[in-house]
């Protein structure tokens, strides 16, 4: 290992950065898992089963025991805006398959934004939304993106505990950061080292490049 390190210092630095960043990501995942469990223990996060009555509905009109979407942006805003939400599982039936399904979160007074949005993951007939670990307030579910669809809200389950492994699966953005970040970091460190070397060189210390 030592010989390899001396022989290929650049490769070693690159390798070390990837290992360190991966370790850091695992540690963050562990930390989030522990934090989540604490929040469940102290009751900040609790599993609750809700119906459509617990939401303020927009662009959704009651019809045939369900709701007709009257616009392209139907919304279900959780009435209890203070409730902290970590995960959402929706059990809904649709007349026709819905278009883009998303969930938003926002602190009171904060606008909903695409930067605070998660897409639905289909699990069998249900949809699951995973908000940032630890939970956020101000839940809004957009169950469809098309007008004229009929949907029935059977149940919305908040804060089902997410499985352990889910804390270690990066999102696409995190994956991209994990891919490019360590190499960029290694490049930065190498440049700093070269810079220090150059500085010593300018002060009369022989340079080593």
């Amino acid at each position: 290992m030592k010989g390899w390190r001396k022989k290929h210092p650049s490769l070693f630095l690159l390798f070390a950065c990837y290992v360190l960043c991966l370790l850091a990501a695992v540690l963050v995942g562990l930390g989030q898992f522990a934090y989540n469990r604490v929040l469940y223990q102290n009751g900040t996060l609790e599993t609750v089963r809700l119906t459509a009555a617990d939401f303020t509905l927009q662009q959704m009109e009651p019809m045939e025991g369900g709701f007709l979407t009257t616009g392209g942006d139907p919304q279900m805003i959780l009435t209890d805006t203070e409730r902290r939400v970590d995960t959402v599982r929706t059990k809904m039936r649709y007349r026709t398959e819905p278009l883009v399904e998303t969930a938003f979160y926002a602190k009171p007074g904060e606008p909903y934004s695409v930067r605070r949005m998660v897409y639905a993951q289909q699990r069998g007939q249900d949809r699951v939304y995973e908000l940032p670990a630890g939970g956020r307030q101000g839940l809004r579910i957009d169950p469809d993106s098309a007008a004229g669809n009929l949907l029935w809200v059977d149940e919305v389950i908040l804060n089902e505990r997410r499985p352990f492994y889910r804390f270690f699966i990066p999102s696409a953005t995190e994956g991209a950061v994990l891919l490019a970040g360590p190499a960029l970091l290694a490049g930065g460190i190498a440049l700093c080292r070269q810079g220090l070397g150059a500085l010593k060189g300018r002060k009369g210390v022989p340079r080593n490049d």
């Binding site: 695409v114 991209a176 490049g187 810079g195």
Partner: protein
Amino acid sequence: MTDLRVFLAFCALVVLALFYMERGVRGSLAPLCAVCSAGLFFALLGCAGLLELAGWAFYLFCLLAAGWLLYRWGYRKKPLPAPGFGLWFFVGAGLLMLLVLAVRRPMFVTWDEFSTWGTAAKLMKLNDGLYTTAEVGWVWTATQPPFLMCLGYLVQFFGQGFVEWQHYAAVDLLLLAVIGALFSPLRKQDWPLAVPLALIGFLTPFVFTLYIEPLKVAPPWLDSLADVPMGFLFGGALAAWFAGQGRGVRRLLPVCLALAALTLTKDTALALGLVAAALVCVDSLVAKREEGRDLAKHVGLSLGRFGVLLACVAGPFLLWAGHLSAAAGVNRFELGGVRNAGMAEMFLLFFRELFSSEKSEHFLLVLQGMPERYLTSRSTMLGSGALATAVILLLVALAALLTKEAAQRRRCIGFGVFSALGFLPYFLLITLTYIYVFRPEQAFESFERYLYPYYIGWFLASVLLLALSARASRFVVEGKAALWGLSLLLTLRCWLILPPVYTAVAFDPSEFDERRRFEQRVNELTAHLDPEGRTFVISTDDTGLKWFTYCYAFLPWQVDYSYGGGPFEIKELQEDGSRLVTPVDAEAWEEHLLETGCTTVFIDKADEAFAQEYEALFEDGMRAYFDEETVLYDVVVQNGQVQLVSADILL
């Protein structure tokens, strides 16, 4: 199976790149040579009506090349040339990009993809021939040059059917090949610059094409339009020259290929090609003279290079003009539009009007508006066009300051001055198209899109110059740190403006569900249609986009012009550029259906007002449509009269 063909095409391109490398082309420039030459080969044979043959010949050649390389490197133990970071990048990033696209399967969504670029690409796959002569059911003026569509055909050569994400993959491979060329100056010890350069290359289309937070998935890297590839090839041609190695053909070949490909990317690319050729000539003139070569010989050589590059620009342009003239009867030298002026005539008209005392209102409006927009209108993430220019020139100035080599400094100064001068004719060309080609109400339409190809190429070439200077810097680290910092700044700028879920990095496949559903609907519908038939589409709330989308999706089934979608109106262009709009009554529509030979009428959307106007033509007075029993009516002609009879087809 259809997914595998893209990976096969990627392998073929990598083999071709290795072949170029073995023949003496710099490793980092080899992918650019491979992609450009492959696309040009398909375009050339396509013009001769031998597109399918081009496919077989290309894959056979790559197979033979793979065998030859294995024989040389494996059996004969010839030393492997250094592939350089560029080739590694092309292989790694290309594979990753293909995997991401194959999993998420994005689709076309923009107007121009359905009206022009996507339709042309789909026609090529469906007909195994160039799109210029294809029948699409409406007046198809397919004058757009074929390079990108040829790349799309190349990656989808095997198997049946056209797949949209695979066309994106073809365009993205071209962009990756150009980014690979940016790595050319890097030696082994310059590895800290590799990721910053890759990041800069990846972010460049975002930085120069977006300036506000998008409301849906942003096009860069998921785009079949020619503007970004045109900018990349402009930068790629310059990068290939700046970072080339060797002498003679080996030095000039990558530049020639990139310039020829550039010319066949879009009509306005001719101007970019000429500017690039001139910039190479200037660089060649200011370069250090080889020992023993006198000034006259040096100038002669530079002018000779300029001549070769001009031929590489003019050759493909004339070839395409000849093909258009022979196959489609279109004169490429005439630009059409409101004045129907030729290219040279447009410049003459401009100068005549400029020095005349009587200038049209539109002329003055465009002439004043263009510089104003360039100076003040925010059109890139860096700010206005003027600010983007300032940032680019700052990079060139930095490159000139950092280097310790006088020749490199001369090169930077020459490039800085002449690239800025070269921007003027390009800017003038765009101004003239707004005056003489577009309708008055279209003035400044897509202003940003027509200018950013120049910024993109200019920026990429400046980054490469900075990388070259950083390598041989007086301040060994500062140049590299500048590039490292630039990549961080661009990342931060993109992060602030672009939500990652609306970029190619992290978009969700469900964003394309609507298009998928649309395609599914059309497939269900076309299963009931006569392949030889022609369908009239009614969609009363359409602005034209839906009609273009149906035209595209129906192919190879043909959609009638249908009054261009939307309201039933005949729009005629007047001599003064304005449009005469005449509403269509039931009698005129009946006549149209008879004249065009439509066999079916598809109703996407119609309201009661529509029914009141045209119900006499429907056998059931449109009752079946409003009762949700059918969306399709058969056109039945009896005694010269049209009756629309319900086909009882509901989707």
